[in-house]
């Protein structure tokens, strides 16, 4: 049952933002916020680009993320496999699905890190403001101070639901272990 719930929990990924990056500065007390969806960006992307061009950062846009092209299919396959795992209803299917989801999560984080590194380090040599030794890689998760900005990166609604789904799987595994101790 929990596998089904977990699989269903992936569905909102299509309708809710998965990840968010926020920036605050003295002159932006209200903050600038960018949301990453399954296939597009939203929020103050233009303002963030406006601010970042002074230090020569690349222009952020949907075209910057080739992931947007195939993420919808990957998620679709994950949901399908989840339903399949539920249908099979065996221990191996639960473990297998959990492993798959976890692997997916780790890959996403690795991908995000690589993007952040690239984005933060690829600076236009003709930028107006160049600070010796400074790079602007956004934090993977959590907060980081970058010049006059405080940057935050973390899951958004969809991301939290996904995490919740994964937690359910984990709960399922724990219950499974308690009810039927694994034979060695």
């Amino acid at each position: 049952m929990m596998i089904l719930l977990a699989a269903i929990a992936i569905i909102p990924a299509y309708f809710t933002p998965l990840w968010q990056i926020s920036l605050w500065a003295p002159q932006y007390p209200e903050g600038l916020n960018m949301k990453i969806w399954i296939d597009h960006l939203s929020g103050n992307v233009d303002q963030i680009n406006g601010v970042n061009h002074y230090i020569g950062m690349n222009h952020i846009g949907d075209e910057m993320f080739p992931e947007f092209q195939y993420l919808i299919y990957i998620i679709g396959v994950l949901i399908g496999l989840g339903v399949l795992a539920f249908a099979i209803g065996k221990r191996w299917s639960l473990y297998g699905f959990f492993g798959l989801i976890s692997l997916f999560g780790v890959l996403v984080l690795v991908d995000m890190y690589l993007w952040g590194y690239e984005y933060g380090h690829t600076l236009d040599p003709k930028a107006a403001i160049k600070v010796e030794g400074m790079s602007y890689q956004p934090p993977l998760i959590g907060y980081k101070e970058l010049l006059n900005f405080l940057a935050y990166s973390g899951p958004d609604t969809g991301g939290w639901i996904l995490t919740g789904g994964t937690a359910l799987l984990m709960l399922a595994i724990v219950r499974d272990r308690l009810e039927k101790p694994a034979k060695i």
Binding site: Q27, F98, A128, V131
Partner: protein
């Protein structure tokens, strides 16, 4: 693996949720006695006048400190509906230029006159940025009394800055432009054909009257701001430059490429010697010089056609360049005149130069190169030291006279206090938001009054009750009398303040003109009493010699005026008492209204277009019977047979 994922998930959750992880933004605390420190009790006066530029409104606002109250909006480069400046026939010539009448300009900087590098507060100088001009305001009347246009200049930003005895007001051009007979050139030919001119305007020590003494033809850089040397460095002037890349397109990028631009040091005493020796070249130009006469209550505008230019590539020892990091904005000299601070707006440090070292470098010919024959001094040889990690986006520096400098930081939105000798940062306070200029009473002079500091900000956002898309610019007042700067007050301002200067009110408050003596009124249409009130026709001109005194106009019934006539209402306010202005407005007049001070005469021109009876009335609530202060003018069809007739108080 599972355990790891579990831990990872828990870790992520904790990291994302934990509110304690978000670093605290800068302190916003107001300590308890702030209100008492800015409270000026009813009937009491502020301690300082703050003369604040209005930026894009082309005006000056006069603010009291520490209350932050606006005392007056003083029109300079823009017409002013409040008092008829630029609308009355007398004041229109003040806004004349070589391009004709310009009703609105952009006013950035203030210079309050000094003697021996201390404020004497006789005059305020202000720059017209767009159509280059310098204005002089008389501080006994708070009135613009002179405006001089600057030829060979465009974007008069590096202006007005004054020498320590107000010998000169300078005007450096922001845009370099082609000049002379060679003005229609390709923009691509920037490096060959464009020039940056720096103007030195002599100020008469008695009358304050301005006269362009000479110009220095400088390379085609952008000149941003300037400061005169003072005390030991008296005789020198320092100009910040940017776009030494000499780009003419996308300056945002192309003028930000060099690691160092320059502070241009000018030995103006040397320039004076060359002029005495006849080395200046007279060049043909056109510029307007407008003067207000307090006896005729009328402005005159004269077009002048010549300016004396010095070429520093030929005349040695006038110009030296000091390398200064990353597009310096402000260049400021400390109260002793020894230190010159360059605020590289894109730089990570603040360089402080030593005047003594500069002289030595010049003497030793310690040059790193030259620009068209003008020496570039070695950065290290002139440097006193660098302020490390001051903040982001340094713009301007003022002083407290106690050995500290205060630098505004646009990007990190703060003011940083540092020790001029040791270059250590000792305190910093946030501003709301993105401070541009800052102002300390006496801050740019040899005698600062290190008690208050005002931050004039560029971004307001949530500081006050919102008023739609267009917001007042915000300012904050700080107490800087102690070791730590203390935020006292946050107040909205008029226009977009750039620079402001403040001085003790005691310098001028007892010298204020309260009214104009009617006996000294030399206006050609003035009346000294009610008995001469009359109407005269000269061809199609109708001159109404009108008096206003509580609570009537004389004459107040006028007939025999025809459609198409040029009607001039010359209104003399006969009152001889403080604070009794009279206004004048006639229905349908497209030249608006007048506000006439006691003892003054002002003229409103009106060309009636339709017949009828037109009411006129006093627009300034002058007395208990103000609502009775009114009259009628009858306008008849052209060629009709209505005789010229005027009267007051006659009833048939």
């Amino acid at each position: 693996m599972k355990k790891n994922v579990w831990l990872l998930a828990a870790g992520l959750t904790a990291a994302a949720l934990a509110p304690g992880c978000k670093p605290k933004s800068a302190q916003t605390a107001i300590s308890g006695d702030a209100a008492a420190k800015v409270y000026v009790a009813p009937g009491e006066h502020d301690e300082f006048y703050n003369i604040v530029s209005g930026g894009f409104n082309g005006q000056i606002s006069v603010v009291g400190l520490p209350s932050g109250r606006v005392l007056k909006i003083l029109p300079v480069f823009s017409v002013h509906p409040e008092n008829g400046y630029g609308y009355s026939e007398e004041s229109k010539p003040m806004l004349n230029t070589s391009n004709g009448f310009v009703p609105w300009d952009d006013l950035h900087h203030i210079a309050v006159s000094t003697t021996n590098a201390e404020h004497d507060a006789r005059w305020v100088f202000a720059n017209g940025n767009n159509t280059p001009r310098i204005a002089r305001v008389d501080l006994t009347t708070f009135k613009t009394v002179e405006i001089i246009e600057i030829p060979n200049s465009a974007g008069n930003h590096s202006s007005p800055f004054i020498t320590e005895n107000t010998e000169y007001v300078v005007a450096g051009t922001r845009f370099s432009v082609p000049v002379g007979d060679n003005k229609d050139v390709s923009i691509d030919s920037y490096k060959e054909n464009f020039k940056g001119h720096i103007s030195f305007i002599a100020v008469d020590p008695e009358s304050g009257e301005m006269d362009i003494s000479f110009q220095i033809e400088a390379p085609p850089f952008n000149f941003d701001l300037a400061r005169a040397g003072k005390k030991k460095s008296h005789g020198w002037f320092f100009f910040s430059t940017y776009n030494t890349e000499m780009a003419h397109t996308l300056l945002e990028v192309n003028a930000s490429q060099k690691d160092k631009d320059y502070i241009m040091a000018i030995n103006w005493k040397k320039a004076e010697e060359y002029i005495k020796a006849g080395k200046g070249v007279k060049k043909k130009v056109r510029y307007a010089h407008n003067k207000w006469d307090e006896e005729t209550h009328t402005a005159t505008s004269t077009i002048k056609e010549e300016v004396l230019v010095l070429d520093p590539t030929i005349l040695k020892d006038i110009v030296y360049f000091i390398p200064c990091p990353k597009s310096p904005h402000g260049t400021d000299t400390d109260p002793t005149g020894e230190y010159i601070i360059g605020s590289g707006k894109l730089a990570a440090i603040i360089p402080v130069f030593s005047f003594t070292k500069m002289l030595k470098a010049i003497e030793d010919k310690d040059y790193e190169g030259e620009l068209s024959g003008m020496p570039v001094l070695k950065y290290e040889s002139v440097l006193h030291g660098e302020v490390e990690k001051p903040g982001l986006g340094p713009l301007h520096t003022e002083f407290d006279g106690k050995g500290f400098a205060y630098t505004s930081m646009f990007v990190s939105s703060e003011i940083v206090k540092w020790n001029i000798e040791t270059l250590e940062v000792v305190d910093r306070v946030p501003t709301y938001y993105s401070v541009g200029h800052l102002s300390i009473p006496g801050g740019p002079t040899g005698k600062p009054h290190g008690k208050y500091m005002v931050a004039y900000n560029k971004i307001t956002k949530d500081r006050y009750l919102p008023t739609g898309p267009e917001l007042a610019h915000s300012a904050q007042l700080y107490d800087i009398s102690g070791d730590k700067m203390q935020l006292l007050l946050d107040f909205p301002t008029i226009g977009e303040p750039h620079y402001a200067e403040a001085f003790p009110a005691s310098l001028i408050k007892d010298k204020q003109v309260k009214f104009y003596e009617i006996e000294k009124n030399m206006h050609p249409y003035a009346l000294k009493g009610i008995k001469d009130a009359r109407v005269e026709r000269k061809g199609n001109e109708v001159h109404v010699y009108m008096t206003s005194i509580r609570s009537n106009f004389r004459p107040d019934n006028i007939e025999g005026v025809f459609v198409g006539d040029e009607v001039y209402f010359h209104v003399t306010n006969l009152e001889q008492d403080w604070d009794v202005p009279h206004g004048f407005a006639v229905k349908g007049a497209r030249t608006a209204e007048l506000l006439v001070m006691p003892g003054e005469t002002a003229t409103l021109k009106w060309v009636p277009e339709k017949e009828g009876v037109y009411p006129f009335y006093c627009t300034d609530f002058c007395s208990a019977l103000h609502q009775e202060m009114q009259g009628y003018m009858r306008v008849s069809a052209k060629g009709s047979n209505v005789p010229l007739k005027f009267s007051t108080g006659d009833v048939e």
